[in-house]
Symmetry: C2
Subunit: 417 residues, 2 copies
């Protein structure tokens, strides 16, 4: 395994050698954004798209730095074949977009307040008309417009409003074009991931300390949430795309339960799944704690998974496919009588609620994409059984010759008295 120096320069640090012009919050250099846009437009060209309608908040952030909790209202970036992208958002959000977004004022458009939550008109009526008017959307018989039709925060009604105003051009699914451009992380992004990993390490350490018989679940989570925002010295945390999950006892047999009013009980196992986040980059991490001696079956499962993880990491290097990684893990656990139907990991990077996955490369039987340096994955080994479960994970960055773990928390089942 290659080890990455944790002292990678952090953009914005005072000892940075060549200060570059950045977005308003100093998160990325303008050169970086220009490069991202160029790669998106290049792919658009290959696929014959005259425009691309982008609605995923992570893609908005990736392309322009735009970052606000405004995605509960319709908003989009429309990328033309050439020239700058344009942001469309509710007027009150458009007005403040320059605090985070690297677009100029003439590329930011706010729809009026009276379009909000109305049965007769929809913000996408306005967005489409304005986009046609300024030419970032074009309606013609030969024109192809890519649309993120399976992203979060684009409602069918919004899509139908867009569709209804485009009379001649073809709307085609984007097939996550921008998400696929995001798969390889630049050095600046890798630094964000490393910092997110340190925050995950800190938050998980505190979470594991809090798992005690009799502790109410909400108390354990309260300390985790404090640690997630507090970050590590000098490096604040950002909000995670998913709140800490705490399946415990019988409910550990299912993956996505959030915490409850119940207390942790001796004799039960509890899983903590959380992410450290910095500047929207996520390093997720899961561990399981047994309060008291684990059942033989849980012990067995944790050992099988540990072997599987080792086998998966052994080949986790550029050139290997997701299918091969998956097969290495599955072979180990099946030898010990365990089975898993769902994928064992997915590409990570920028995350916004409700998901920190990139929706591109998965570690599963059908995945033929080869791993490459600069990719990052959450390898998540969730074994959800009838009324019990075991879960452990690692966030991993691909290096030119191997990989590096983003976090540093002892692996395996933690047994506490």
């Amino acid at each position: 395994m290659t080890t990455i120096s944790p002292a990678l320069p952090y953009p914005g640090a005072s000892d940075q050698a060549t200060p570059e012009e950045t977005d308003p919050q100093g998160v990325f250099s303008l050169t970086e954004y220009a490069d991202r846009l160029a790669r998106v437009q290049e792919l658009m060209h290959e696929r014959g798209m005259a425009s691309l309608v982008v609605v995923d908040p992570a893609n908005l952030f990736y392309l322009t730095g735009y970052n606000a909790w405004s995605f509960y209202m319709p908003q989009a970036i429309i990328v033309p074949a050439a020239g700058p992208a344009h942001l469309f958002a509710r007027a009150m959000d458009a007005q403040g977009a320059h605090h985070t977004c690297c677009l100029g004022p003439e590329q930011i458009h706010g729809y009026p307040e009276h379009y909000v939550h109305r049965p007769d008109i929809h913000p996408w009526d306005w967005i489409t008309e304005r986009a046609l008017e300024i030419g970032v959307l074009e309606d013609g018989a030969e024109v192809v417009i890519g649309v993120e039709t399976d992203a979060h925060f684009f409602s069918p009604r919004g899509f139908l409003a867009l569709h209804g105003r485009i009379r001649q051009a073809s709307l085609i699914d984007s097939h996550e074009l921008v998400n696929w451009v995001r798969v390889i992380k630049s050095p600046q992004e890798q630094t964000k991931l490393l910092l997110a990993g340190r925050i995950a390490t800190a938050a998980m350490t505190i979470g594991l300390e809090g798992v005690l018989a009799g502790a109410p679940q909400y108390e354990v989570v309260s300390e985790i949430q404090r640690a997630q925002a507090f970050g590590t010295p000098g490096v604040g945390g950002d909000y995670p795309a998913i709140v800490p999950m705490l399946p415990t006892g019988a409910s550990a047999g299912t993956p996505h339960l959030t915490w409850s009013q119940q207390s942790l009980r001796s004799g039960e196992a509890t899983t903590i799944e959380l992410a450290g986040v910095h500047d929207r980059y996520h390093a997720p991490l899961a561990r399981t704690v047994s309060l008291g001696e684990p059942t033989p079956r849980l012990r067995d499962c944790s050992e099988a998974v540990a072997e599987g993880l080792t086998a998966a990491l052994d080949i986790f290097t550029p050139g290997t496919t997701g299918r091969e990684v998956h097969a290495a893990f599955i072979a180990c656990i099946e030898r010990r009588g365990f089975f898993k139907e769902s994928r064992i990991g997915y590409s990570i990077g920028i995350g916004y609620p409700p998901d920190w996955g990139e929706r591109t490369v998965s570690l599963r039987a059908e995945e033929e994409t080869p791993l490459a340096a600069g990719m990052a994955f959450h390898i998540i080994l969730g074994m959800w059984q009838d009324n019990w479960g075991y879960e452990t994970s690692e966030s991993v960055l691909l290096t030119p010759t191997g990989h590096a773990l983003l976090t540093d928390v002892p692996q395996g089942l933690l047994v506490k008295p």
Copy 2:
């Protein structure tokens, strides 16, 4: 103003007189769920709907108690004209749905893992086919199916998969049918809101204490997030639909910025907007703090808003319309030279990311719905100006004869040295 006793019985409390059968987590009685379903089916009947496709996680929780962070994958409840609702979710989530959901196993359907994130097939292919097969969806020339086409977490691609498999029936927009049933809160729900209000009070008190010159924003938020989950003695907090927002200094001129790596500065104003949450019920609250003497304009604005809030609350009683409340507020601030385009409040109750609004009744010029006992609102007075802002809010429950505030934090601009 009517005052509600804070000692309203809390379901699940040991001194509860008549223990009723509840959902698996003891959040609501089964009678309550039966009543909710009956009211939804009555409205469906009035509108001639044979089925209703429900995707909003808040509506899933309202109708069945189903509660998990699984909404990043396609899921739905389909309500037939008569008989029980059916839940459709990813297999790994369907398997654990009985931990929170009051439906029987024969009403819970899990789509196979290989439908996840695939370019060729979509979970909504499976959901639609299964729903047709078991008869909760019917495809016929005279059949009308209501669909939540403007809810979060229903992608255009998902909708098109549904649409493509329904050959004869008409799909019509639900116009937020279930959300409108949610508008009047039952006594059990009102208790949740009161407990959420207490948590909001605790979290805001801690947040306001943390606003100090030199404090990094993420540190202030870390204590707020701890308090939100910790709750108040014996009553744990749940996760908020929106993370704490902390517009500060020049960025206070825009409403939805989340916290950053910056520190708070003397001479600047900072707004905290957060929610207390209990069992998914939200009591949002906003306050603004000036570090040092406020500018005359900010002082003016806070006083105008205080007068406007008093005028709005004076008539905040059953029978008044949202239009009248809005007009009372606007008249006060305009007399003092302030203007506001956006609505001044919205109905609240259950919330899931990315929004804690119910998307039904708004407090705005066009709103003719009369207020009624059991409704609850977030009255949010956000004055977003060029490079500065002021924001304050109250969460308010309508009683038979007036209203009660859900939280207890001194109103007005807080000035700290």
